[in-house]
Structure formats: structure tokens, C-alpha cells
Amino acid sequence: MANIQSNRWQISRRQTLKGLGATMALPFLEAMRPLHGQSASSGDPVRMACLFMPNGVRPDKWTPTGSGKTYKLSPILSPLEALKEEIMVISGLTNKASHGGDGHYFKTASWLTCTTIEKTVGSNVSSNGISIDQVAAQEIGNSTRLPSMELGTEPITSGIDRNVNLTRLYGSHISWKKPDVPLPCEINPRIAFDRLFRNRNKKGGAAAGNPDKSILDIVLDDANSLKRSLGDEDTHKLDQYLESVREVERRIENEASQLGAGQNLTPEALKQLAALSERINKAGGGSKNDFGSLQRLNPTEHVRLMMDIMVLAFWTDSTRVSTFMFGNAVSGKNFSFLDGVSGSHHSISHHKNDKKQLDQYQIINTWHTEQYAYMLQRMKEIPEGSATLLDNSMVLFGSGIRDGNAHATKDIPIVLGGGAKGQLKTGRHLETSGADLSSLYVGMLKRLGVSKQKVGEASRELRGI
């Protein structure tokens, strides 16, 4: 069922490569950097990615020692040594709205909303808030190909958690477009890649002639007569759908006008896109039926492909906002692929203070940090004017709980990487005593240039960032 290895990858590859090849010959490729969408601001925009790690961290190996600029990274954070000047480790934060409820779902679905989710097995799913990526996307997402991207590596967990009487879908969603509209993660790197880049640099054409647009028009043509016989909640479900239709239509128009304006990618960007596309194909394997989807991508490569897609999307200004879930809450992912680990993530996180289990937990946590470091490093290598892509971005990394053994909600693990165009004082360990996570988000939205800066209950930014 959940099969990320579609048998149609082969076709996509051919189409993609053909598309990319054709563009190489187009005349307007002199620009040294990829062009950005028409943004009002001058120069490179600020981008934001939020990377969610499930199941918490080993508490005694996470927090750096020392504060301010003279801090020393902890064992779990040690992979970030070369990036120490580009990050800010923030200790002592808590997400108050997520306290109470259960140990995982309340802390995952609300990670980016800072609200208390509705307790339900499914009849009235609601985060009771909009996640910060979507708040940002609504304001700064209009000029890019996609307003936002939601990526992950695990299919949505189905079923009900009978222990706590919650639908497990809460544990699989951190992005909420509206309180009752969770956005699922794309877990197939091929689809994520194609969605961003497939038609990039095709010869432009008027949106009006676009066959996709005319098909959507037929549906919208029909929309009003549809609502007449429906009740309220039915109308609400239908509206969710029709809004999606309108949004995709806007996207098509947007795309066409950008292509029409001759906004194209540089040879360097195209080269990197082709290389990434090739890597996705190589990682793909592929199985023609539902079964065998467990011959999954190599877990590390899977994560890195997704990260590279985010990096290239930011670099080419195809989107400015992205979320990524390393895994779903309560993820039972088998981490035996790491030396020294045997067992699944969630089981090991309930370590019971057993030395051996704690060590395994730490190895898993450190692996997550390594992947985060990989993404930051990639962004650091990409120049933008006199700065780098990393300097112009904010990449949040963390979890909704601290110690997975106790589902602890205080002092949750949070790192913010990147300088947001000089607006963040990186290279520091910022210690707070119980400040709310939402106040950090207020500061992040402000640096993105978003005018709506109320997150959860907070409207003042965290001091000292």
C-alpha cells in the first residue's frame, strides 16, 4: 500500500531528463545565480525549514555545556562542530499548550502550532491552530512555485491508538494549513522532485491554454450548484476540496507567467538538479506491487535526498518554506541499520534508564543530528551574493519532547541553524528558563518578514535571539 517505490519512476526519469536536457539549449542562461520570483524585497529572500525528530532525545547527552559564545557542544550535537558558528542551540524551551494530553500526539501535531489539539479518535480532528510554516506560506509563498513543501520519510500511520483514544494521524502531521486541514508529507523523493522541477524551464505558454487549467475550470464551473443540497459540515469538507482546486489553478497560472517572463535556472542549478534526479533514480530500486515496499530506500540516503530537494528548492527559489519529518511520532522504525543499535526507535526511547538502551538511544539521536549537519553543510556551500544560502535561511531542528522515556515536556531539544540574513545571533548557546516555544516562532516569523506574528498565545519574541 504505502509504497514509495513507484513502478512509474522510470517514466518520470525519462521525462525529467528530457525536460532538463531541452532547457540547456535555451538562450537565457547567462545569469550567474538562479533567478528568484518577483519578491518585493531586494536581494535574496529568507527561507525557513523546520525538521521534526520523533521520540525525544537522551537528556544527559543533549544540552551543551557553557553558555553564550563559549559553549561546548554535547555528544549528540557533536556532528555540528564544523557549523558551530552558524547555529544557535536553545535550551530551556517548552511548548505549554502541548502539556497534558498524551505523551506523543499532543506534542507532535502541536510542535509548530503551539496549540492544544482536539482529543478525538477522528470525528473532529483539529490542531486548533495553524502551523508557523503555513502562516509563513500564506504570506510569502505566493511568488514561488510552491507556497510550501511538506516532506517526510514514513507513510501516515493509520489506525487509532486505543491506549490514549486518539487517531494516529496526529502523530504523522506537523503542518496544519488550517486547524482542520493537516497537510500530509510527501515521502517519495521522485514525486517531491518532479513536483518542483519537472516543468521548470519548459517553454512558457499562456495559462489559459494549459490543459490542466481547463480541466480545473470545468470543475470550478460546477462548484456552486454542488453546494445547494449539502449540510454544513458537508459543505465544509467540499470547501476544503474546492480551495485546493483553486490553489492548484493559481499555481498553474503563476508557473505560466514565470515561464513567460523567462525566469530560468542557471547551468549550475540545472547540473545539480540533473545530478540529484540521477541519485533519486539510483536509490529507487523499485517494486511492481504493493509488497516489497520494505526494500525501502537506504534510510540515510532517503533523508538526504529529501534534504537535497529542500536545499535545491530554496536555492532555486522554488519555495521558501518547508517542513520535514524524520519519522512519525511513536515511530517503530527499526534502527538496526546503525552499528550498535538493535531495535526500533520508539521502544528504545523508553530506555528505563538502562545503560545499554540509553547508549542505543544516543546513537539514534546522533544520527539525526548528522543528517541535520549534512543539510546545513550543503547550504553553507552554496554562495548567494557575498553570503551563503545558509546565511540567508533558518533551519529549525528538534523534537516535541525531551526524554522519550518520560515524555518530558520541559527543556525540549531545539537548534536553530542559519543566520536569517544577519538577523540571528548564531554561534551561541542560548539558555532560557522555561520560555515558551511559541516565542521563538514569533521571532522566526518576524525575520521571515511575515506580518502575522501571533503564535499560540505568544506575540512577543524570545529574548536574546
Binding site: M1, V125, L183, I191, I215, G231, D234, F291, G292
Partner: protein
Amino acid sequence: MRLLLTLGLLSLISPSLWADEFADATRALFKKHCYSCHGEKKQKGDITLHDLDSLEAAFQKHALLDNIIDQIESGDMPPDDEDVLPTDAERKQLIDALSNINNRIKTGDVPQKAGRVTLRRLNRNEYHYTVRDLFGVNFNPSQDFPADGAGGEGFDNTAAALFSSPALLEKYLSAAKKVIASVYLSPGLKKRAIFKQPETPKDTEATAKEILSYHATLAYRRRVSEDDMAPLMNAFQRETKSGKSFADSLRAPFTALLINPRFLFRAEHNQAGKDEWKLNDFEIATRLSYFLWSSMPDRELFRLADAGKLSDPAVLKAQTLRMIASPKSTSLARHFAGQWIGFDKMVSVVDPDQKRFPAFNDDLRKAMYYESVEFFSHVLQKNRPITDFIDSDYTFANATLARHYGLKEKVTGSEMKKVALHNKSRGGVIGMGSVLTSTSLPLRTSPVLRGVWILDTLLGDPAPPPPPDAGELPADDTKAEGLTFRQQLDIHRKAPKCANCHNRIDPLGYSLENFDAIGRWREKDANGKPIDASAILPGDIEFSSPAELKTLLMSAKNKFAANMTRKMLSYATGRGLEYYDEAVVTKIVAKLEKSGYSTQALVYEIVNSRPFLNRSSTR
């Protein structure tokens, strides 16, 4: 109360505050003894009583009541270290009030209604099967759709838990184009879709309309109106004007059909001003076909609906039986039983450690999955009793699985065949590789998970959550440090906060310890020590093998039947169950008992029930 009335304050007091014998009997006692841990400030065990303050609230929260009764009756709650404990008379007063609610719910002595399901989006599987039946394509266009979350009783067809997003719409659009493209590429399918050609240019429009209204009827699952046809015909005309051929001009409207919300969503009409009404025949046809086939109605259902005959009980019964007999009912096995029993996890979730269990390959994974599918289909189609799920003297196996199980019967080939079982270890869902593997961890068995699975999945009796710091046993059972795995678990269970639940859970799992983490029979554990499968449940119930466990479960037939009925009713209606559904369940279980637990009777009784055939104005 009288005093208040005479003071003329009636209008300020909500009805639940004065005509509520439940609140009168319980509120003061709850407040005195329970609120401090189960109230607004603290919610220990995630249980609150301050909001259990009216008759209506008690109905709504009825699933909690048995648990509360148990706790009060056994003396576990309030805990002994409280300063003031309720007297025996007070305990009785609470238990009586709570039991009274339970009885009223079970017997239907509560306001009854049909319930209301929200507009239902086709889920990923339903989309696949519907497109297959609509246009005859034989690939799965929904393979890359995001998995659907679940709601209600745990099914991914629960309307309220199905959402739309722009990313999904993009996938619908690309799937629609792919489907229509493949229809146009296949001469047979193309001819089936465009079943008529205009004889003269003058006929073009009429012919197009005939073709499009035929497909729109099928796609929208009802008669179509001029309103429905207008956008499709406009699109056709636009394409024709731009110089496209007749067939090519139909392409856009065909594609548009597949992303039209009338196709993607199952709407049921509203009747303004009424509290409850009967579904019309087309709506019944649609509910029936998505329940039994996860797909659109076929010609016969359409014909009967069009003639207004489907709501006739005799016709409805005959159709239900006809649909069960169709191979398409395998979707009920795959998606209903798959999610209820949990064997659908075999497709992609279950992940035994490859190094420890090299025998677990894709062939075995598939065989385990299809054993369960074939077994369920057989029980349904041959009208075996539902108790076959608890115990049976047969199962389905191919050569791979028979070898894995060490079956006496010789089985050859990769096809699943019905096989007689010669000992009582296998048989029923408990002996199935799919269940045994999906209730294990990657490196070892988990008697706890297996125990919880039996309580929740078979008996509908989920265990409460463990405290967060309860800890887990090592993920691997090969380094037991002198203790057997079971001894470690026994130590864990001695902690008083664990004992209460684990005394009920663990023994159930112990009796299955002869099955390893991928469902093979074993006499020794991973460290070479003999398996101890003896178990004692509270009440000194001793047993020590899968066979004895099954005998035990057979003594709880009606509990199992009620649970299966609830699950199937939720799956069939696409919504979570409400308190007023409990009386429907009671009635169906009584009929099942009379029918000897016939599986087809269960399906038919659900089809013929008030929630399935009617719709209320409110939830």
C-alpha cells in the same frame, strides 16, 4: 427545586441541572472522592469525572462507565491512601447509577437515531477500485496518493478523518490524466468508453451528451441533471470548436469527471426540517457497494436503484448475498478485516529484523497476508460462523507457508489452498503468521503486545495506557543475563502500578510464546531455554497453550460478536460509533446468537440496520 421554580428562576437553569437523576445520584460523590485526581486540575490516567455531570454526558461517555464501575466495585478507586473513602452504601449508589446508564444504552432506552456521516471522500483503495470499474483500467493510479489516516473504530474510510490538500488534488489530476490516457491508448477500452459515434455532423452534440451522461451517471452514482451536464458539454463544445476530433473533444470532460467532487466525494442529500429520513435508493446502492466492494455500484445495483426497488428488504437481502458471492467482496477481507485484525500491516509496516530472521522474505510476507485474506473471504462466502475467527480446523496456505508452519498436510505451489489442520495450535486468527508477526517486535516476541491485541482486537476491551516511565524490556531477547525473558517480564509486573493491567494482559501473551516473532512453532527460546507457556489470569483461570487460550475465548463468544459487530458497523457507515448505536449492536448480537453466528447474517443485519439505511440531521 420547587423553591427555585416558585422564585421564577426556571429560565436561568438548564434542564440537565434539574431533571437529571444521574447527576443527583453521582455528582456530590464524584466531587467529594474523585475530582481531585480526575477533574479540571488533574486528569490521572487521562480520565475525568467533572464533565460526567449529566445524563447526556453519561450517554456520550458510556465507553468509560464499565471501567469506572470496575474500579469502584473492586475497591481500586478511590485508592486506599485517600483520607476519606466512600461507604459501601455510597459505592452502591454510584455503581447503580452507572449500571443503569449502561443498561439503558444497551437496551435502547435512550433517544435513538440513525446518526450522520460527513461527506465522504473516496480513500486511496476506493479510488483505485472505482476507477477500475468505471473505465476498465488495470493499473493502480492511486499508488502514490498519501496514505489515509484513520478515525472512528480505526478504519481509513472514516469520513471525518479524510482530508483534501492541494498536493492531493495535484495527484488526483495527474491520476485522472493517466487513466484517460490509458483508456485512449487501448482500442478496446476506448470503444467501451466512446460507445457511439455521431452518424452525421448534426448528431455530434447529441451523441456526446449521450456518452457523457452515461459516464457521469456512473461516476456520480445517481441520475444526472441538466445542471450536471452543462459544464461537461461546455467543455466538449470548446474542444470541438478548437478543431479537435469527436473522440479528442471528449477527453477533457472525461478527465474532468475524475476530479469532480461529485465523483471523489459520496454525498447524501439533506432533508431540510426533518430530524431523520430514509436514504434514497441510489444512496443505498452506493453505501452497499462501498461497504462490500470498496467500489461503485454495478449495473444491477444501478438498475434496481433506478427502479426504486433496492429499498425493498427482500431485494436488499438478495443483493447483499449476490455481492458477497462476487470476487469483488475480497475488498471486505482486505480492508475491513485487514484493518480490524491488523493483518494489513503485513503489506508494508511489519519489519522483522532481516539478520535475525532471514527466513522472513517477501514470499513469506505475502503468503501470511493472503492466508488471512483467503480465510476471511472463505468464512464470509461459505457463510461459516464468525467463531471460526477464534478457532477453526482449517486454514489457507501455499507451499512456503505450509513449510513455515510445519504443517502435516502436503501443500505445493504458490497459490493459497484450503488446508485441514491436525492439531489445535494453528486455526483461527490467533494461529496466523500475520497476527503473530505483526504483534511482535523486530527482534523478539512481545507477550504484552499479543495480550493487548487479544483484549482490544478480539474482545473490544482495550487496556489503559502505561505510565510514561514504565519503560520497555530490552528490544532483543538473546542477551537475557541469566533471566529468561519471561522472568524479566514477571519482575516488571510485580510493580503495583503495573500489576493491575499486566495481570490481565501478559498471561494471554504467555500462552502464545511457542510462536516466535515470525509465527514459527518453537519449543525453546532464543537462548535455548524451554518455553514456558503456562498462564494464570485473575480468578485463577489456568491455561497454557494456544489451544487452551482459544477454548477460553470461545467462552466469550458474545463479547467477540459484539466487538466484531461494532467494528463492521463503523466500517459500513464510515463514522465512529455513538452511544445510540450500542442498542443496534445488542440487537444484532442477539440475532447472531440465534443464527449460530452466521457471518452473512452479520453482514445483512448491518445492511438492514437503521444507521445504514437512514440519515439524521445531526450527529
